[in-house]
Symmetry: none
Subunit: 141 residues, 2 copies
DNA sequence: TCTTGAACCTGTAGTTACTATAGATTCTAT
DNA sequence: ATAGAATCTATAGTAACTACAGGTTCAAGA
């Protein structure tokens, strides 16, 4: 009868998140309502650790709660196909690449500024940082 | 007397954000309190468009309001000592680099997962993306 | 067994960066 | 002059947590 069980605190510790976060995920419908002790304390099993870990990893990867609910549907209702999961991951990857590109430009601008800084400040009209980011707008208009 | 002026609506439209967001940035101290008409409507100039655009771009890049306030100090208080400005710019650049690194890892993880997934060939039970995120946990226990 | 004190419970409030709504006022174009 | 679009202020709602408050339960030591 050694079916390993966990308190919410142990669960949270395993996955390195806060107890309140687990509560929140339960309220949000990502984590199920687990069985309780006589006194009302939540009892978790290994599968819950797996699930919570999945949720946390997805959050780190930039998925929203809503998106994760979608992903979990694939697990909970296995009538879905893997292709949907793949599509979501690809979309996410594209957005991440976009952010990387933008940040790279910003970093170049910052470095440029460091190089150009000679003690006199820039006015709003010729600040290399502002200009670096303003380009975006010119292209649009 | 053709100093181009803009209403808050025109400003927002230019930068593709909501009027309320401009209000919010004013309250947050990112946008200045502009001159008003007799009746109290805000009047903006070109420099405000530039500034708002900069703020929006920075937000897209993951900077917090607080960080953007720091960045804007470069422009608003150009009397900083050169060394001070350089230090701030370099610190920002380091943070940006950190973000780039994080996002790069994230993208690799996503791409790896996508690459391992054929798409629509099989059901959720053997979807490598789901597996990839579950595995993480096994390593911990 | 009895008793602390840590962990847990529910519920509400605070956080960030907006977004939406309400009700009043102002601007603009016919 | 007047309709209606845009603006004004102020407040409430959103996402994804985080942090209390104030009570109850659990586990370990005396």
């Amino acid at each position: 009868m050694n079916t390993t069980q966990f308190s919410i605190g142990q669960l949270a510790k395993q996955v390195k998140c806060k107890v309140e976060t687990v509560h929140y995920y339960e309220k949000s419908g990502l984590m199920p309502e687990p069985p309780r002790t006589e006194g009302g304390h939540r009892i978790y099993a290994l599968s819950h650790i797996k699930r919570l870990n999945f949720i946390r990893r997805c959050r780190e990867l930039g998925f929203s709660i809503k998106q994760i609910r979608e992903l979990l549907k694939f697990i909970d209702e296995p009538d879905h196909y893997c292709g949907e999961v793949k599509a979501m991951a690809m979309l996410q990857a594209r957005e991440v690449q976009q952010k990387i590109d933008d940040l790279t430009r910003l970093k170049l601008a910052l470095n440029e500024m460091v190089g150009q800084c000679k003690g006199s400040g820039y006015s709003i009209d010729d600040c290399p940082i502002i200009d670096a980011l303003y380009i975006e707008n010119n292209q649009l208009s």
